[in-house]
């Protein structure tokens, strides 16, 4: 907030002194906003530059509008702008660049099948670093589609060549840990037989014990009321509650297992990412 205000003061003062606010100047201004993380503002200025620019600038400005939308979290816009940039770009490596960014936007929308389709259909040339990123994107798409063997293969291809330590670590990540567990269906069935068992299997002790004791209490109340009053009294008064919490228990066990599995996969994915892009020191990446 404060830095934003400060920046806007600086740029308003700049606009006083700058005489020629032509297309290039506007674009430079937008670039500066982009560097300072003000993506929405940058997008506005790119739009202005694009509106008045000549046709030759169109691919670059489309790409930049895509970048600012991507960073601002508007993935659908980003995908469309990158697509336009890719269609009219003349330079091969830049075209590949827009293409890869487009697929990034698609992946961020979690449309993994579409991303994979785009990647497999691409026939253009790629620079070495683009090839690494393309392998990473393919791996990521397979990972999102729960095809972990293929994902592993592509992630391995994206690792820095000759880094056998990273390769071993990646192998350990993908071979040792079963990414299909905890299994939501198994958790559901376990909770059907013993309330709370599925939650505990997924690693959620609080909800497991909670479910077990709640269902136990209700079962006890049914038995007690059946003795003190009559079977029908307890059936009409308490059984609906037991039914609710029993059903709720196994339904929630499934959801909890799903969530835990998602968290585990995210953890492994983060470690893979760190191995590929070497963002952390090797000891920190386990």
């Amino acid at each position: 907030m404060k830095s934003g205000l400060f920046l806007s003061i600086i740029y308003s003062l700049l606009s006083l002194t700058l005489q020629a606010q032509d297309v290039a100047g506007t674009e430079r201004l937008a670039d500066t906003f982009m560097r300072h993380g003000q993506y929405e503002t940058a997008f506005k200025y790119y739009q202005r530059a694009f509106f008045f620019a000549s046709k030759t600038k169109a691919p670059e400005l489309y790409g930049k509008m895509g970048e600012s939308s991507l960073m601002a979290g508007k993935y659908d816009f980003a995908r469309q702008y990158f697509h336009k940039a890719q269609l009219i770009e003349q330079n091969d490596s830049l075209r590949a660049e827009w293409f890869l960014k487009k697929v990034t936007a698609v992946v961020l929308q979690k449309r993994f099948k579409l991303a994979l389709l785009e990647m497999l259909n691409y026939r253009g040339p790629l620079l070495p670093h683009q090839r690494v990123y393309a392998e990473y994107l393919k791996g990521l798409s397979y990972f999102g589609m729960e095809k972990f063997d293929l994902a592993h293969r592509h992630f391995e291809a994206a690792l820095p060549p000759g880094d056998s330590l990273a390769r071993q670590r990646l192998n350990l990540l993908f071979r040792r840990k079963n990414l299909m567990r905890p299994n939501p269906t198994a958790a559901k069935w376990m909770s059907m037989f013993v309330p709370g068992a599925g939650q505990i299997y997924a690693g959620d002790w609080k909800n497991g014990l909670n479910s077990f004791f709640l269902n136990g209490l209700l079962a006890y109340l049914i038995l007690r009321d059946a003795y003190t009053y009559s079977f029908w009294d307890s059936f009409a008064g308490i059984f609906p509650w037991l039914q609710r919490y029993y059903t709720g228990g196994y339904q929630r066990a499934e959801k909890i297992a799903e969530q835990r599995r998602r968290e585990k996969r995210a953890r492994i994915f983060r470690q893979t990412y760190d191995l590929i892009f070497q963002t952390k020191s090797k000891s920190a990446a386990e």
Binding site: F143, Q251, A266
Partner: protein, 121 residues
């Protein structure tokens, strides 16, 4: 892309960093202690405590059966905060009887929650 050209320290373009975050599993953490902490008298505090206990240990084990948004218990605690203990309690009890499949057609639908919308008024 500096990371591929052996730059030191390695720098990854920010849009690639987005993909690292993008795969994170969203965590839904609920904290139901709001009415408890902001209670302005003892009765509201007691109801806030009941609400917290219910949400933490009972509602968290229940099937997702309420047809409204906000859910019946949240509605009651909001009504109590707004109209006082007695009227708020009555509104909550009335809401419980309205919470059935018969609500169909009488209320607007909230598309995000896929439930009927019935805010406190």
């Amino acid at each position: 892309m500096l990371w591929a050209q052996g730059a030191n320290p390695p720098q990854v373009p920010s849009y690639i960093g987005l993909t690292r975050k993008g795969m994170d599993a969203p965590v839904h953490r609920h904290d139901w202690s709001g009415p408890l902490r902001h209670a302005h008298n003892e009765a509201v505090f007691v109801f806030g405590l009941l609400y917290w206990t219910y949400k933490n240990f009972i509602s968290s084990q229940d099937i997702d059966s309420c047809v409204f948004v906000p859910s019946c218990s949240t509605y009651m605690i909001l009504a109590i905060q707004k109209h006082g203990v007695f009227i708020g309690f009555l509104e909550g009890m009335d809401r419980l009887t309205r919470c059935s499949p018969f609500a169909n057609g009488h209320y607007p639908i909230n598309p995000q929650a896929r439930k009927y919308e019935d805010p406190v008024d």
